[in-house]
């Protein structure tokens, strides 16, 4: 469905070239949910923006993004506009700032339909009906009353649902969700994730879910891709990545998460800090903080190495005998 | 450590600190050529005003009728003379004293008064805030110049009255600015943290909040300075500014009105000098705003 090949997003800055996304490859199959996991600054949000070519100035994209037989990075701006919101839709993190505060919610959902030509000459009533059925599908209670309300009259969870209605209005094949539940309370988060799961099953929409919460990714995604310093360091089926993490960073992340289990073991955090992305060398970015680093790690660039069925990781230790 | 030594140590420390800050500041200024230009021009005016007795070629009040209305370029009178034979250059230099003195003093008093009242009102709210806010709104409803004219007409001309009239209306701007900034800063967590560490309200305002709002206040002061100088000139033009006889640009413009067709320099030169000064101040103020503000967006 969506194949990303050697995606690079570079920002020239006064401190050097910042490779916000460096050599990312992954495959999104129809109906699957891939989780893009990492801490702040690792490039996960930028990857989503790159797919839709919404990268802010002065970012430069290179690589290939294959979608429906075309490379999105080669498409004209007009063609991209037809893709955005229609074939590939995006949901952002903070619904309060993403919804326009001066327009009614129903109007904003209808706008999405209008822009993508899905209502044509249909009379106003028919358009309204379409919006109401969308609102029902995403679980907004009393849609006919809520249609006329403004975003600030909605709670956080409902705003997020409204955003999803806008995103789903045009029946996209792919949904990109950038931390959709981070700003929400945990009970609301459960509701929203449930909704996303429902959409995935009903409409067979493929999804990329960006989150910093490994637990959310573990529960919700079919596959997990871990990012660090702009690179994809591990990718594989969820169970594989969680139970047999191949990359030391993934292991470190799993070790630093407090878990609700019988024994309360001491957390083992990853020492040090995330590196400055400006002018990073092509060698392993995690080496300075890695407890298992070899001298080779600072000299060579580990490619994606095999770590199991459908499971790869960017670590030299996996390349035959360490 | 005896107190004298402590004081010297403290002074040196202040100088070093301000020196370091000054260095960084000047470097920043270097990136804003217009602001730098404004500052240089302002400095020139300040020096002229400061050293007036030494640089002015003639006594600004003494006029020689024999040389009345001489054009610029006349030997001995670089910028010409006015209708009673007084040297224009000397009068302009001494006029700078008036403008700058009145301007700076008014701005500083307004700044201090307005900021203190605004900070207290914004921090404590309640009836104090309500009363002062309403009063300030009342004052703001008056057009500045009319108000100043009214005050000066009643009080009569003179330095002190002039400064009083200007200050009385200007402090309101600082009050509103300081109040707004304090209200927004007060809810920030670092203020709560300082209270939790045991600071009294007064110390919180002085040592925590004030350093964070001072940049806006300074920028406002710089921008208001130009406005106040023009107002002073306007009042002197109308004859209700400084005492008659004291050389001031406004009154010079007024004096030269009758002779504008025969001796353009008597009215035009003071006006020009005024424009250049205010322009310089504004350029510097704008540049200052740019320098101080983005530095604040430090995250």
């Amino acid at each position: 469905m969506l194949e990303i090949s050697n995606l690079n997003t570079h920002f020239p800055t006064s401190r050097g070239l910042v490779k916000a996304v460096a050599g990312v490859d992954f495959l999104l199959e129809p109906g699957r949910i891939v989780g893009l996991v990492g801490e702040s600054g690792c490039g996960k949000s930028m990857t989503l923006l790159s797919i839709l070519r919404l990268v802010p100035y002065p970012g430069r994209l290179s690589g290939q993004i294959w979608f429906e037989g075309r490379d999105l990075l080669q498409e004209s701006p007009a063609a991209m506009r037809r893709v955005r919101g229609r074939a590939i839709a995006m949901v952002f993190q903070d619904p309060m700032t993403t919804l326009n505060p001066v327009f009614r919610v129903g109007e904003q959902i209808r706008e999405s339909l209008r822009i993508h030509g899905l209502v044509g000459r249909a009379p106003a009533r028919a358009q309204r009906e379409m919006v109401l059925s969308l609102m029902e599908e995403v679980g907004i209670p009393s849609p006919s009353a809520r249609y006329h309300q403004y975003p600030h009259e909605f709670s956080g969870g409902m705003q997020q649902r409204a955003l999803m209605a806008i995103a789903l209005a045009c029946q996209p094949k792919v949904l990109l969700a950038d931390e959709p539940t981070t700003a929400l309370d945990v009970t609301i988060q459960a509701q929203i994730l449930d909704l996303l799961r429902h959409i995935n099953r009903q409409r067979k929409t493929a999804m990329v879910l960006v989150t910093h919460d490994l637990a959310v990714a573990s529960e919700f995604c079919h596959e997990i891709a871990v990012m660090y310093a702009g690179r994809l360091v591990e990718i594989g089926p969820t169970r594989e990545v969680i139970y047999h993490p191949a990359h030391p960073y993934t292991r470190g992340l799993l070790g630093s998460i407090p878990r609700i289990t019988r024994e309360r073991a001491r957390l083992s955090p990853i020492p040090g800090n995330v590196p400055d992305l400006a002018g990073l060398a092509a060698t392993c970015a995690f080496a300075p903080r890695c407890a298992e680093a070899l001298p080779r790690c600072r000299e060579e660039d580990p490619g994606l190495c095999d770590a199991g069925p459908g499971h790869t990781a960017r670590c030299l230790r996996l390349k035959g005998g360490g | 450590m005896d107190t004298v030594k402590t004081r010297w140590y403290f002074l040196l420390l202040m100088l070093r600190l301000s020196g370091a800050r000054l260095g960084a500041f000047l470097r920043q200024l270097g990136r804003h050529p217009t602001a730098l230009l404004g500052l240089v021009v302002l400095a020139v005016y300040l020096c002229a005003a400061l050293f007036a007795p030494w640089i002015a070629p003639h006594d600004p009040r003494q006029g020689d009728i024999a040389y009345r209305l001489e054009p610029p370029g006349t030997p001995g009178f670089v910028l010409g003379t006015d209708h009673v034979g007084r040297d224009m250059l000397s009068r302009l230099i001494y006029g700078a004293r008036v403008s700058l003195l009145v301007g700076f003093v008014s701005v500083i008093i307004s700044m201090v008064l307005g900021t203190v009242l605004g900070a207290v009102a914004g921090y404590f709210r309640g009836w104090f805030d309500q009363v002062l806010s309403r009063f300030s709104e009342l004052l703001m409803a008056f057009p500045f110049l009319i108000f100043a004219i009214g005050v000066m007409a009643i009080m009569g001309p003179g330095f002190v009255n002039l400064i009083g009239a200007l200050t009385f209306k200007s402090w309101v701007e600082f009050f509103r600015l300081a109040r707004g900034e304090v209200i927004s800063e007060k809810s920030r967590e670092y203020v709560e943290a300082s209270r939790a560490s045991g600071l009294s309200h007064a110390r919180v305002i002085l040592s925590e909040i004030l350093p964070n709002i001072i940049h806006s206040v300074i920028v406002l002061a710089t921008l208001r300075l130009g406005h106040l100088i023009i107002t002073e000139a306007s009042l002197s033009f109308l004859g209700i500014g400084v005492q008659p006889g004291v050389p001031a640009w406004g009154s010079m413009v007024n004096d030269g009105r009758e002779f504008i067709f025969v001796a353009w320099w008597t009215s035009t030169l003071p006006g020009l000098v005024l424009i250049v000064l205010v322009l310089a101040i504004n350029l510097f103020g704008e540049g200052l705003r740019d320098i101080l503000d983005p530095r604040l967006k430090l995250d």
Partner: protein, 325 residues
């Protein structure tokens, strides 16, 4: 054993007073935000009491009110059995706070040295040289290098700023610390570092913590006992293991079921609550949770507010299903 800190019916309301004009023209009444409503808790020396709840439940307000950063509307705070009516210097030196937002809780215009000097001066250390020694030792204790002493907050990462905040709180040499979501704004790996640091400090200095958070996994990890808040009231209070294994209050059960778990084995049957988290403005009568409750008993829940009652030993619940003693 006298508890270190005891709250009795502590209440903090915020009154929204409409202006004269609004009242006259639009008939707006005064509204009350019942942020904290008659909360009674006892915190014992050396323990970590976890306070958990979603947004609007009042946990942050509770933390600040008990330290008198907000003046309580009513109720009492007892420290070592003695009533505290307002923040005296002595109280401030015993009870301190660590804030959530490492970006907002440090004065951006002050150096680290000056930020930490404030509590030291309150403590009475006048000599600058002695203060410097204290500051250096505090920085060392929280894991920061001494060369940072003259840096400004913006030069540090989030985790480092949080360490500065911790150093500041420790500067008063407190016995009791309210940690208001100290790790919520941090990345996962930094979170773990700070949690470990707080645990070490607790061991080393014998501190007592009120640990406020919304992340239930973090609460599970750090707390000895857990109090769950909903709309200004404590709805359940029990030792950590008990509350996670056998939660009684319907809200607690829903909350626990909603936590995503990394380990697929550790997942519960998800209880999805209807509706949204209501606001504490003019809450309805009766049990505050009844409008979203999935096992409400009907009339009694709608009309009568349940008290926090002891169900067994150390487990307390405020629910009509468990009347207790």
């Amino acid at each position: 054993m006298v508890p270190l800190v005891e709250l009795k019916e502590l209440t903090r309301f915020f009154y929204l007073r409409p202006t004269l004009l609004a009242r006259a023209l639009a008939g707006q009444r005064q509204r009350v935000i019942k942020a904290v409503d008659r909360v009674s808790l006892a915190i014992h020396q050396g323990e970590t009491l976890g306070l958990v709840g979603e947004s609007g439940c009042g946990k942050t307000t509770l933390g600040r009110t008990l330290l008198f950063l907000h003046q309580p509307t009513s109720g009492t705070v007892l420290y070592r059995g003695k009533e505290v009516t307002h923040a005296t210097r002595e109280f401030r030196s015993r009870a301190q706070i660590i804030f959530q937002n490492p970006y907002a809780s440090l004065n951006p215009r002050k150096k680290v040295r000056d930020i930490i000097s404030v509590p030291l001066i309150t403590r009475g250390i006048r000599d600058p040289f002695q203060r410097q020694q204290e500051i250096l030792s505090l920085l060392d204790r929280v894991g920061l290098s001494p060369r940072h002493i003259d840096n400004y907050p913006h030069q540090f990462s989030g985790g480092q700023r949080q360490r500065i905040g911790i150093a500041r709180a420790l500067a008063m040499q407190p016995e009791f610390v309210v940690a208001d979501e100290p790790v919520s704004s941090l990345d996962v790996s930094v979170q773990a570092q700070i949690i470990n640091l707080l645990e070490e400090l607790q061991q080393e200095l014998g501190l007592t913590f009120l640990f406020i958070a919304h992340d239930l996994s973090v609460i599970y990890h750090v707390s000895d006992r857990v109090a769950v808040m909903y709309l200004g009231r404590v709805v359940e209070l029990a030792p950590t293991a008990r509350i996670y294994e056998s939660p009684l209050h319907p809200y607690t059960r829903a909350l626990l079921s909603a936590i995503p778990s990394v380990d697929p084995g550790g997942r519960r049957e998800r209880i999805l609550l209807e509706g949204t988290v209501p606001t504490p403005i003019d809450p309805p009568g009766g049990c505050r949770f009844h409008s979203r409750c999935f096992c409400s008993l009907g009339d009694v829940c709608r009309e009568e507010e349940p008290r926090l009652a002891t169900v067994s030993g150390t487990h307390q619940v405020a629910c009509h299903r468990y009347p207790g003693e």
